[in-house]
Structure formats: C-alpha cells, structure tokens
Symmetry: C2
Subunit: 208 residues, 2 copies
C-alpha cells in the first residue's frame, strides 16, 4: 500500500486504543513520530490538544498536511485500507466495521474502563461502584466473541485483519480488569493466533 508522508501519533503507552495503532504501524513497517501525553495529568484537556481533537482523547493521528484524525478504529481503517489487513470484498469490509463497532460499543466500556478504574484510579475511587455492572457486560461481550470464534480462526474471512487488532487490544489484558478468560477457550486460542502474527509487538513496547 502507499503510505503517505510522515504521521505523528498522540498516545499514552498503557492505552489499548493507542496500542491498536502502534501494533498496526509496526506490522505495516511504517515509521512515525510518537508523542506520549500524560492523560492522568489532563494533557488531553488543554486548549492546545483540544484544537487537535475537540473530543480530547488519544489516540489522535496527525498527518503531514496538518489534518488530524481521531477514534482508534477510524485510524486503523485509514492506515490499513488497501493493505492485507483489510479484506477486499464489500460485505467482508462491512463485517470488519461491524466488529470494530461492537468493540467500541459492547466491549471497550466493559473491559477497558474497568481496567482503567482498577489500574489507574485510587483504590477508594467511587467509580469502583461501576465495576459489577461493567464486568457483567464485559463477560457478555466475551461470550459473543467466544460463540463467533468457536468455528473461526479470525473474526472475518478467517484472516487476520484490523478488527482482530481492535478486539485484541483490551481482550489480551482482560485479566487486568479482573475478567477471567478461563471460560472462553476459543477466545484464548484466538489471542494466541493474534500474538503469533509476524511483527507483533507487546503493549509495553515504546516506539523508537
């Protein structure tokens, strides 16, 4: 694929949403500038950053013409389109989007958010009260994935694509959200297949 110019990724190392982009860029062998923002200190809520992304979130991608692109799964699509990481058929592309919308609506708030509450907020945070409901919904999302993966190697077309990247990002650290993957053997086997893809990197790997 033709990757255009140099891009800058505004990010936070422990973010699974940011990791999606780092993982794809590593697998595309695309070089980029990496700017880590201290989200816990409000670095995404400054006037300077809100001018880049009015929704005040990382990851945000800056293109070499000064255009900004937000939303991790839209960034994945932008970077991967035309590459082997997006299937070619019209229905297959829509299915990739289906699983990425599932990830943001039915998975991320119930896997990533509990992980954030447990890992980054104080042990006496009132937000801990949200955990039982969020984790029940997280287990429901893992159940949907388990059903789908029982008969498949990857989410769409039995081929690794950006919707696997999107769903891997927080599923592989679900234990940090106190979500036990033991009841989900097909999900665990799929995590192993994703981790064994060429040029895979861990979430802890700082970009050069």
């Amino acid at each position: 694929m033709a990757l255009r110019g140099h891009v800058t990724l505004y990010d936070y190392l422990d973010s699974g949403n940011g990791y999606k982009i780092r993982l794809l860029l590593a697998q595309l062998e695309q070089r980029y500038r990496w700017v880590e923002l201290d989200i816990m200190a409000g670095a995404t809520r400054t006037a300077q950053f809100l001018a880049k992304n009015p929704n005040g979130r990382i990851p945000t991608l800056e293109l070499d013409d000064g255009t900004y692109l937000a939303e991790s799964n839209a960034i994945l699509w932008y970077l991967a389109e035309g590459s082997p990481f997006v299937p070619e058929g019209r229905i297959e592309q829509a299915q990739v989007l289906q699983w990425m919308f599932f990830e943001q609506y039915s998975h991320e708030p119930y896997v990533a958010t509990p992980r954030f509450i447990l890992k980054h907020l104080a042990p006496d945070s009132p937000r801990r009260a949200e955990l039982p409901d969020r984790l029940a919904r997280g287990r429901a999302a893992l159940g949907v994935m388990e059903t789908h993966l029982r008969t498949r190697q990857f989410f769409v077309s039995n081929r690794y694509s950006i919707c696997d990247v999107a769903l891997y990002a927080y599923t592989h650290v679900a234990h940090e959200a106190q979500l036990d993957l033991e009841p989900f053997p097909a999900v665990r086997a799929w995590l192993g297949r994703v981790a064994s893809q060429p040029k895979h990197i861990p979430i802890t790997r700082k970009p050069p």
Copy 2:
C-alpha cells in the same frame, strides 16, 4: 450504485439506530422487507434471533444470500458505499468513520440511553439514577458537535453523508432525553439542513 438483491431489516420503530437505516434506504430509494421486533418483550434475545445476531440487537440486516450484518453504522457503510452518501477520498472516508465511532462511543450511550430510560422504562426504574452522569456526557458530546459545526454545513467535506445520518438519528430527538438544544445553535441549524435533504423521512414513518 449497484444495490444487490433484496434485504430484510430487523428493527424497532422507535430505535434511532434502526431509523438510521430506514432513512438511508429511503434516500437510496432501495426497497426492503421490514420486520419489527418487540425489543421490550425480549424478541431480540430468543434463540432464533441470536442465531442471526449473537449480540442480540437491532438493527440487523439480512442479505438475500442469508448473510447477516449487525451494528447500525456498519450497515450504513455497507449500503452507502459507492453512493453519494459516502465521500470518495481516503481521508474523508476515515473522517466519516471517525464521526460514526464518536457517535457510538461518546454520543449514543449519553443521548439514546437516557431517552430509552425516560421513554421506555417505568418511572420508578432504578436506572433513572444513571441520568445525571449520562446527561452531562450527552451535553459534552453536543458541545463537541457544536464546535465542529460552527464553521461547517455538514460533518465531513461540507456534504451530507452517512455520518450526518448517524448523528442525526438521536440528536433530533434529544429533547426526549431531557437534553435542551437551546445552547447549541450550530447543531440546531445542522438538524434543519439534514431534515431538508431530498427524500427525508421522520423516525415515526413505518416502512411500507
């Protein structure tokens, strides 16, 4: 664009997510079979429906070859690709996706869900306790839209596209979620522009 065969839409009339698809199909002049499910009576949680969409949600689209597609914004993309409702450029397409992911992550849970709680659950539902936090986040989402629309006619490329459809669906009934649009004049002007597009239909219009 080439629309292939006959499609069936599993839906619920008052759903904004379902309305997105009905509105686009009307504007594409595509005929379809419409099956309304009583979501309040659990019709999306039956074994029969879970076989169509393991996540148990409407809207779900059935293609004439028996393939099912879920997630309203993925369905919009599938139906609109190659039509005037999706811009042509690579970055513009990614921006359309950006706003659709914004809609599902930062808008729908804080506009659609309060509307659902107020309109469809009992007045003494314990879920009413969620309203203050959800509505505060709903106002934040409307503020992001207001900032963007102050200098634009539509969300991407100053042209009506499927991300306008996606964001219109619940924004135009925000008052049913007790969200006041008075502080958001650019959003109100944009709602008017969307409603005046050719072949627009209201959310209350039952498909023939």
